[in-house]
Structure formats: C-alpha cells, structure tokens
C-alpha cells in the first residue's frame, strides 16, 4: 500500500464504511483493561496524512512509516477502540514481541 493509491475518504467518523480490521486478541485485551495504554500499529485506509489527522489526542506517536501507510502509536484502549471506527483506518494490530532465534545452550544437548 502506498499513499499514491489513496481513495478519497472523508476524515471524519461515521457510518457507511467498513470498520477497521482489529485482531480479536487485541479487542479482547482492550475489553479487559480499557484504560490501559497499548502499543499498536495503525494502517491507513488511504493517505497517511488522513490517518495522522485522525489520531486521538491521547495517542503518542512512536513511528510513522514510509514504506507502508502506517503508524506506531501508544494510546488508551478506549481511544484505540474509537479509532477503529474511523473511516481513515483500515487495520489496527498490537505491537508484538519478537525474539532472537538461536536455540538455547540447553537444547544443544536436548535436541
């Protein structure tokens, strides 16, 4: 996705658009602790500028990406849930942990 293929969408919440795709695990996490701040990656439905304009005031921007129209933010769960209903937002996913991939010394013997 790039900003060049942006459809002309109004940057205001409202009916008549598909809600953003949100991982069920993230939705569940928000439901459990709506006030907790969560790090998420938000992908624009169209232009990145429309997405940035839609971000809630409580959100802190960690990264705005160039290669895909997405931002990494941290915001309260309630604000993320509201953001998912914004027409400028295509998808929201939690920032996941990653790890290095060596096999532990333990498994040198075990494997």
């Amino acid at each position: 996705m790039s900003s060049n293929d942006a459809p002309d969408v109004p940057a205001t919440p409202g009916a008549g658009h598909e809600p953003a795709h949100m991982d069920p695990a993230l939705a569940e996490r928000i439901a459990r602790a709506p006030d907790a701040r969560i790090a998420v990656i938000v992908t624009a439905r169209g232009a990145l500028e429309d997405l940035v304009a839609a971000l809630p005031a409580e959100a802190s921007l960690a990264h705005a990406y160039r290669l895909i129209a997405s931002v990494a933010i941290e915001a309260p769960g309630t604000a993320i849930a509201l953001l998912a209903d914004h027409p400028a937002v295509a998808a929201i996913e939690a920032v996941e942990d990653v790890q290095a991939w060596p096999v532990s010394a333990q498994r040198e013997v075990d494997a």
């Binding site: 160039r66 895909i68 997405s70 920032v95 996941e96 990653v98």
Partner: protein, 444 residues
C-alpha cells in the same frame, strides 16, 4: 525403566530440567534386527527420521516417558541421544560453496548488509572497520556507540560478513568483504518489538543496505504474512531491498512459521544439519510450513547447527570457543548464511532485483533426499550454484530495480579470497571440542 540401556550421554540429557512432554531425539538400537519384522510395536507409533542400514537402529523423537518405556522392551539394546553434529563456520561456508565464489573474485565487497539484531561488538577483530552505519533503536536516547550486550547480533554479523581475522581465517563468514549496517532492535535479553524492527528496516534502506538479515520473529504460529511487519518487508523488497528472515525454531511440528517469516516476498531461511548417518536434513528445531494461508515456507535451508562465529566481548551466549568465538545453532545462524550469499550475488551483479536474487537462490538449492517439502523449501542453499552466471544476468523477475549507486572497483589479490592478515594469531582455533562435548562438560 531400564537405565542400563541408556547411553551415559542420554542419562545426562534426560536428567536436565525440561518440560515433561518436550520431545527428545534419540537413536534406538535393537538386539537382532527386528525392525523389519515390526516386533517393537512401541517404535512404530513414534515420529521417525529413518532406519539405519548398517546397524539395526532407528532415529526417533519421543518423550521421556516413551523412552523409558522403550528401555523396558527386551528387543531394545541401547538408546543414545541424537546429538548435534558439527558444521563449524569453517565447514559450513565451504559446504555452501562460498569459497568457490571468492575464488572468482567476489567477497561481497562494496555491498552493504544490514543486521537488525542485538547490536554489534565493533572491536571484534573479524568485524573491525567494517561498520558503515549503526543506530540504536532500543535505547534511542543513548549515544549511538555500537555495542552488543547479548552477543547474538555479533555472532550473526560474523556469519554474514566476518573476515576470520582472529582465527587466522578459519571462522570467516560468507561475504567477508561486505560492509555492515547494524540496527540494534533487540535488547540485552534478545527481545524486541515489531514496530521497532519496522523502523529499522526503513533506516537500513536509507543507509544504502542492499540486503537485510532479520534473525528474529514471534507469533502467531502459523502466520499469514498480513501483519504490518511482514507487509513492510514486502514493501521494502519492492524498493530494492533483499530481505532474509529466519524461519524460526519452533520445529519439528508443521505450521510453525510465525511473523515475519511468513512475509510473502522475504527469503525465509530454515536450518539444515547433518544426521548421524551423514545425510543432510532439516534441523529438528527449524520451523516448518505451510503458512496459515497455505503458502510454502521456508523458502530455503542453510547450515544452522554448531556454527562457530564471532563472540562479542563480555558475553556468554552459546558454547565458547576460545575468547573470540562461540558456537550457536538456530535459524538465526542459517539466515546470515543466506544474507552473505546474497551479498556475493549483488557484488557480482548489482542490477539484480530482489526477486531475481530470490529466484537464483532457490534455483541453486540442492534438494535434500527424504526431507519433506514443508521442511526444506527448495532445498539447502548453495552460494556457488546461485552465483553461476549471475555476472551476466539481466534483471528479469519482479521487484523494483535497485537505485544505481556507485560501486567502487575493488582491487583484488590473485584468487580474490581474503587471506589472514600478517601477524594474526589464531585465537579461537585452539582447544576446540565437539559442541556436544563442550555442552556436556559444562554440566559436569
């Protein structure tokens, strides 16, 4: 249970703290060749890597309880752990044919290889003077002084591009002439976050990297390549970056490819090793496909067991081989073999687009007999076979052609391969023990 039938190394392995249901790879020898007659029914139900022809034995994977039950069977004579065998870097690099590429005059010179990992020890003799760019994404407020408090990134960098200075050339990486662009995205515990890795990929591209090594990953298992990190990797490939991603160490079960290993346009690298019977195979730990949307991954295997490479100062990761080197195994170690191979290809022909590079790597792979496609992809990669004809090849496959950048014409010694520097004293070569022996010795 009859411990008398356990080889002593198996007794050590089984005494180590481990989850009760974690499988153990063992070799079971029978008394009078009853395998063919199927007399040991308990064996038939266990996952097997195959029977041996010269001795009446079978390689299997079993839980501790299943192994104990086997030892009670009168037909069972002896049980050994199926220990890793050794593909030292000095063996693994020739195994993939890198030296034959060096002898053609190509060592990755002028190609920037990005390592997104735990950082780098810039003073390691094998890597000194090779760092073209460094950025700390974990602690961005810190000064950007290169460091690696974990050791994983230094080991990975050494496999891709170490020049073997501290070992008199023994532990030389695949592309010893390449430059390094290092982004620290994993902390001292080897952990990080997808959003940081994404930012680091964009930075690596801006720093002129042509290939990036990503020896990290995470859930979900299996993934489908639609997470943001995987999509950004696909976009980076479109921009001209070759992205090598470790398949993960969640094998031997199928559908264990996570993110970003499932990225559609990445070169997803699993690990190979050599079984007790001398045959190459997919390492047990190496993650298997398919992805959750049914695509084949990994794309290719490279050696990933018992790999000796650079050890960062003041780190304890792996099994130390002298002061300057350490042995590790994992798809983390296989991945930089692929990244180094890509650097060789790109030095040979800078016009190759990422999809051309991937196609060459897969086409040049050696398919491993008896290994399932979902474990080996195209097979075990070969730098030499991927390289063949690369100097003349015109870009053909998809992916945006790379932006032309001035490539210095290197001065090469006859033969092209870098040799040990005058006055270098081998450091890690002395006192090497087989990897398993080291591990066992550490446990007393």
């Amino acid at each position: 249970m009859n411990p008398a039938k356990f080889h002593k190394s198996l007794s050590v392995a089984m005494s180590l703290a481990r989850p009760a249901d974690e499988p153990l790879a063992v070799i079971v020898r029978l008394r009078a060749g009853p395998l063919a007659r199927g007399e040991v029914r308990a064996l038939a139900s266990l996952p097997s890597a195959g029977d041996f022809r010269l001795i009446p034995a079978r390689a299997i994977v079993a839980s501790a309880a299943q192994i104990a039950a086997l030892s009670d069977d009168p037909a069972v004579d002896m049980i050994w752990p199926d220990l890793p065998v050794h593909a030292w870097l000095d063996e693994a690099v020739p195994q993939v044919g890198a030296q034959r590429v060096w002898s053609s005059g190509f060592t990755g010179r002028g190609v920037r290889v990005a390592i997104l990992d735990t950082g780098i020890d810039p003073d390691h003799p094998d890597l000194a003077g090779r760092l073209a760019a460094y950025r700390d994404f974990v602690e961005p407020s810190a000064t950007d002084t290169p460091r690696d408090p974990n050791g994983h990134g230094t080991h990975v960098a050494g496999i891709a591009a170490g020049d073997g200075t501290a070992s008199g050339g023994r532990y030389r990486g695949v592309a010893p002439g390449a430059e390094l662009v290092v982004g620290r995205v994993l902390d001292a515990a080897g952990a990080g976050r997808t959003s940081t890795v994404m930012a680091a990929i964009e930075w690596a591209l801006e720093e002129g990297a042509r290939v990036v090594n990503i020896s990290l990953g995470g859930p979900p298992y299996p993934a489908d390549g639609t997470d943001a990190l995987s999509l950004l990797i696909d976009a980076a490939v479109e921009e001209g970056l070759v992205v090598c991603v470790a398949a993960g160490n969640m094998g031997p079960a199928g559908q264990t490819i996570g993110a970003p290993a499932a990225a559609k346009r990445a070169i997803t690298v699993g690990a190979s090793d050599v079984a007790a019977d001398g045959r190459e195979r997919a390492a047990l730990f190496s993650s298997r496909g398919p992805t959750s949307d049914g695509r084949a991954k990994p794309d290719v295997l490279f050696p990933g067991v018992g790999i000796v490479s650079a050890r960062a100062a003041d780190t304890e990761l792996g099994n130390a081989v002298g002061a300057r080197y350490t042995a590790l195994r994992g798809t983390s170690q296989a991945c930089p073999m692929a990244a180094g191979t890509v650097a060789l290809l790109l030095e040979a022909n800078a016009r190759l687009a990422p999809d051309d590079v991937k196609a060459r790597l897969l086409r040049g792979a050696d398919r491993l007999d008896g290994v399932a496609a979902e474990a080996q992809g195209a097979g075990r990669g070969s730098a030499y076979r991927a390289f063949a004809g690369a100097t003349d090849a015109a870009p053909a496959a998809g992916g945006r052609p790379p932006t032309p950048t001035p490539t210095p014409t290197p001065e090469r010694a006859p033969g092209g391969a870098p040799g040990p520097r005058a006055g270098d004293a081998p450091d890690g070569a002395a006192g090497c023990l087989p990897l398993a022996a080291q591990a066992l010795r550490r446990r007393g």
